[in-house]
């Protein structure tokens, strides 16, 4: 490999000879990645980290589904099953979801607002490595969980770790501590990155890009990071309290000393609910960038989309206790949270309407990114509807903590978030690597995963409605759940196959993919104005924009957007 100007300067920094004849060793390449503060490299590392743990958590889920395929199964012992669902949930939220969305934000935000990098590149690296450390600490529990007395064990407290199950009396050994500290450290990394991204968006936009002219992706990430600032704190605080209980003999959640188990639930869900909106807003961001390009129409109702996003953020801070309808709150409390939960569906519905409005009358291209986004629209709509069902408290009294809820949130997190993430990968992979992902393999990936997803998660609503609770390692035959569970498990096979195609696609396309050029999709935002992959400094000259679609203006000088905005 020849050395680029970038590599030469880095070689100089590293004290290596700068002559072009010297090629890099594997060590040099690795070192470059480890010490980088470049948002693009950090973004890609976040994404690779997230995808790696996605496979791990997917294996955990597959094991769970195998155990549940038939009643009274003995494939997994109870404790291991409980550890697996705890790790599956914790991994997917904190080691897959958060890294992926921060990875994309990291990579895309500076490029899309015409900046060189994030506001604080070293803080960026710090946040990344803190997140990595937290994740590895969580998985170290496999080895260190029980301390010196026995084999390691992963935490088995559920991803929301209800008290007092997490107290020293009921959770012996250290597996709970690995959960608490690992997630806490990751949370601090998230806060650091959120501060960074907000500062970048507010302070580093290129000339002419007012807040109402920046891409919706920037808006959605801005709001998402704002929510991170407000929502992660409660979790950090609750985890500090838990650590005080477990190590210093404090009584925050020690019911034997008058402490309150319900307080943990409040604190956790004050974090937990906004957290799921934190996860989904970037999904909305991807859809808001991809759908217009593949419908050949500007997004329908940009200001309304901004307003709806801000509304979602505010309202979602006030719905948390809909996870607690069964804890025994007063009727007024239950009613309040039912109403706030129903209200949050309104701005969300407006957004769905606007995406459809964008497609309406457009010239739609069904390339792989668009396929994933269309599926997202349908699946997110269904998820929203089951969510509204759950907000009707008396229904929730039956459906809470059952497989209906599990189906609902997998519709949101897999059907909506993961699908848009796949869309984003197919869409921006050419920008990051200079090569397109294969459309053929992409379609195999899409259809297999879609079928698997629906076989598993459409079906899963039914055992919930038939009374199957969550988090049980087995069930008796004859409750009416047997065949349904088998169907859910079968769907996993299709999903796994789809992922195999995806991984194969990525690996193949890295070496053999069609060259992409700057702007393979004929898109309109700033990242497509630079090379694929972009140079380290992103843009050769400072940029000036006059509208929301600067590249449209350049490509259509007689019909620029700024005449109409």
């Amino acid at each position: 490999m020849n050395t680029s100007p970038t590599q030469s300067s880095i070689a100089g920094v590293m004290g290596l000879p700068e002559d072009a004849a010297r090629t890099w060793t594997v060590f040099d390449h690795l070192h470059q990645w480890v010490v980088t503060v470049d948002h693009k490299k950090l973004g890609l590392m976040y994404i690779m980290y997230g995808l790696l743990f996605f496979v791990v958590a997917g294996i955990e889920a597959s094991l769970i589904r195998i155990q549940l395929a038939v009643p009274n199964n003995h494939f997994l012992p109870p404790r291991l099953f409980n550890e697996l669902f705890t790790m599956h949930g914790t991994t997917m939220v904190f080691l897959v979801g958060m890294p992926l969305i921060f990875g994309f934000a990291n990579y895309l935000v500076p490029l899309m607002i015409g900046a060189r990098d994030l506001a604080f590149p070293r803080l960026n690296a710090f946040g990344f490595w803190l997140s990595v450390f937290g994740g590895l600490l969580l998985y170290f529990s496999l080895v260190g969980g029980m301390g010196m007395t026995g084999a390691g064990s992963m935490p088995d407290i559920g991803w929301f770790a209800y008290a007092p199950l997490t107290s020293p009396a009921f959770s012996r050994g250290h597996s709970t501590d690995y959960w608490t500290i690992g997630v806490l450290v990751g949370g601090l990394g998230s806060i650091a990155t959120a501060v960074n991204i907000i500062t970048t968006i507010l302070c580093l936009r290129c000339k002419g890009m007012t807040l109402m002219k920046m891409p919706l992706l920037a808006w959605l990430n801005l709001v998402m990071c704002g929510m991170v600032l407000i929502a992660i704190g409660p979790l950090t605080a609750a985890q500090i309290m838990l650590l005080f209980d477990r190590f210093l003999g404090a009584h925050f959640f020690d019911t034997q000393a008058g402490g309150s188990a319900v307080l943990w639930q409040h604190f956790f869900w004050i974090f937990g609910h906004p957290e799921v909106y934190v996860l989904i807003l970037p999904g909305f961001a991807f859809a808001s960038e991809i759908i217009p390009v593949f419908s050949r129409k500007a997004i329908f109702g940009y200001p309304v989309m901004v307003g709806a996003t801000v509304a979602i953020a505010f309202v979602s801070l006030g719905v948390w206790a809909h996870h607690m309808f069964t804890v025994g709150m007063t009727p007024i409390g239950n009613t309040f949270f039912a109403i706030s939960t129903m209200l949050v569906g309104v701005p969300t519905g407006i957004k769905i309407f606007n995406w459809i409005g964008t497609m309406w009358g457009g010239k739609i291209r069904f390339d792989t990114p668009m396929l994933f986004c269309v599926a997202f629209l349908v699946q997110f709509l269904i998820a929203g509807l089951t969510g509204v069902m759950l907000s009707v408290v008396p229904f929730d009294w039956q459906l809470n903590s059952s497989y209906f809820v599990v189906a609902h949130f997998h519709f949101v997190l897999v059907g909506a978030l993961l699908f848009t993430i796949f869309g984003a990968i197919y869409y921006w992979f050419p920008k990051a690597t200079g090569r397109l992902l294969s459309e053929r393999l992409g379609k195999w990936h899409f259809w297999l995963f879609l079928i698997g997803f629906h076989v598993t998660f459409d079906t899963m609503h039914i055992p919930g409605m038939l009374g199957m609770p969550r988090r049980i390692y087995t069930y008796e035959a004859g409750r009416g759940w047997d065949a349904l569970n088998m169907i859910c498990t079968v769907g996993v096979g299709f999903q796994a196959l789809g992922i195999l195609f995806f991984v194969g696609n990525v690996l193949w396309s890295l070496f053999k993919g069609k060259r992409a050029g700057n702007d393979p999709w004929d898109a309109w935002t700033l990242e497509w104005s630079t090379t694929s992959p972009p140079p380290e400094y992103n843009f050769a000259e400072p940029l000036v924009v006059k509208s929301r679609r600067p590249l449209w203006d350049i490509k259509h000088p007689t019909d620029p957007d700024w005449k109409f905005e």
């Binding site: 015409g114 704190g233 605080a237 009584h251 307080l263 604190f267 350049i554």
Partner: protein
């Protein structure tokens, strides 16, 4: 390589955006406020719920002097910044040092109060819900004071070395913002622990 700049003419209007340091510090303050709020909520919720052990009224004395010191340090740090903006690094150093002394005294008094509570009054974090919430909330705040003091000390060190100049005023202002935040939190903690909770 972008073609955007060459095709579009730069606007003549100036393009100003907020300062990075200030924005980031405000974000950090928001995040920290979220954490503190939860400890305050826990404190308020558990008032009067201790099953046994000493009550606040039995063991707490109002930390008036140390509070005055801490809150005055917000004034001294403001004087310091103003001095630096006007270029008077000597006066800056004086007021900056005053801030550190006042903050340091606050921490010292907190330590003394805790020593008394633990060894003479029998209140630890384990004793009861009051002990748990008291040490956690006051301790969290004291920890933030400590971190702030360390940062102030680092700047003090640079000042003694003659390295702090007028152009660094903005950075010191960002640090002062953090310090003001710590003081506002103390007003809230004081009210919750020593007034409402008593």
């Amino acid at each position: 390589m972008s073609t955007v700049a060459t095709t579009l003419t730069p606007e003549s209007a100036d393009w100003s955006q907020p300062s990075k340091g200030r924005t980031a510090m405000i974000c950090l303050i928001i995040a920290e406020s979220a954490i503190f709020s939860i400890f305050v909520v826990a404190y308020l919720y558990y008032i009067g719920k201790s099953a046994s052990g000493p009550t606040p009224r039995q063991v707490l004395d109002l930390p008036i002097l140390s509070s005055i010191c801490l809150l005055s340090s917000s004034a001294t740090i403001t004087f310091a910044i103003r001095a630096l903006i006007s270029g008077d690094t000597g006066r800056f150093g004086f007021w900056w040092l005053a801030t550190i002394v006042l903050g340091g005294y606050f921490l010292f008094e907190t330590g003394r109060e805790w020593h008394d509570l633990i060894y003479n009054k029998g209140l630890t974090i384990q004793t009861n819900l009051f002990g748990t919430t008291f040490y956690s909330l006051v301790g969290l705040h004291a920890f933030h004071v400590l971190v702030g003091l360390l940062a102030l000390l680092i700047v003090m060190g640079f000042t003694f070395a003659g390295a702090v100049k007028r152009e660094h005023a903005e950075r010191c202002e960002v640090l002062a913002l953090y310090w003001h935040f710590v003081d506002v939190v103390w007003i809230i903690v004081f009210t919750v622990v020593y007034i409402i909770g008593l």
